[in-house]
């Protein structure tokens, strides 16, 4: 299991999707880093993951608006990667992740009718091409 930082994770995930064009499934799992998981992770890695210090501090645990890091894992065949997204990195990670999704998940079926909302430029181009053909 390779531990990467969030942006490197999305790059590697993009590579997984690229490689999976011929065969196989890319699986992405997300869960919250609770106090217990953070504690175990810090034991393994010999350091507290980013964003985790606030959780492990017991005084803060009683606040309602405490923010947790998020663990994200991805697998493709035998390759496994993971990352921990700190609360302040959420936007950057979300942007990179949704870019990867839009770029690589293109084998999904598109409706033949012209649709007002096109998620990606490729979808818009393909629907306009279908219009021209018709």
């Amino acid at each position: 299991m390779k531990e990467l930082d969030p942006i490197a994770f999305t790059v590697e995930l993009g590579r997984f999707y690229e490689q999976s064009r011929t065969n196989g499934t890319v699986s992405v799992t997300m869960k919250r880093m609770t106090e217990r998981r953070l504690f175990k992770a810090s034991r393994v890695k010999k350091e507290i993951p980013k964003g985790g210090e606030a959780i492990l501090d017991k005084n803060r645990m009683k606040d309602d608006d405490i923010e947790f890091p998020c663990l994200v894992r991805a697998t493709y065949k035998n390759n496994k990667i993971s990352t921990i997204v700190a609360p302040n990195e959420l936007d950057k990670f979300q942007n990179a992740y949704s870019t990867v999704i839009r770029a690589y998940m293109d084998s999904l079926k598109k409706k033949e009718r012209t649709r007002k909302k096109a998620k990606t430029a490729a979808a818009a181009v393909s629907s306009s091409q279908q219009q021209k053909q018709q």
């Binding site: 799992t29 998940m105 598109k110 998620k119």
Partner: protein, 120 residues
Amino acid sequence: MYISNWDEFQKAAEELYTASPETTRYVSGFRHTDGELILKVTDDRTIIKYKTNQASDLRKFTNLNLSLMSKMQNKSLEVPEQTEVPTSGPQIPKVVSAPNSAKSSPAPQSRKKKNNKRKA
């Protein structure tokens, strides 16, 4: 186990997460060869799954990712679309470029006029 309606799936996923945030995980799998996206939300007691091969569900998938990740981090999900928030990255260049374009497009004489006004 498999839900056929996206809105129902989203609602059930968010409810399941709110009910047990510590043990719920969200799994997504994508097969390029079959063109299928499979989503699963489970807290090891109940499972809800959704399967699709429609490109129209991609945007909903991204939104659900955003929503669930924010819940996981216990973060408020407010994405300001206007340029009121100074901290967002992509919006700052828009603000900066506007005065620059205003300065560069008119003739240089106007710059001197502006400078005179400033000095005055």
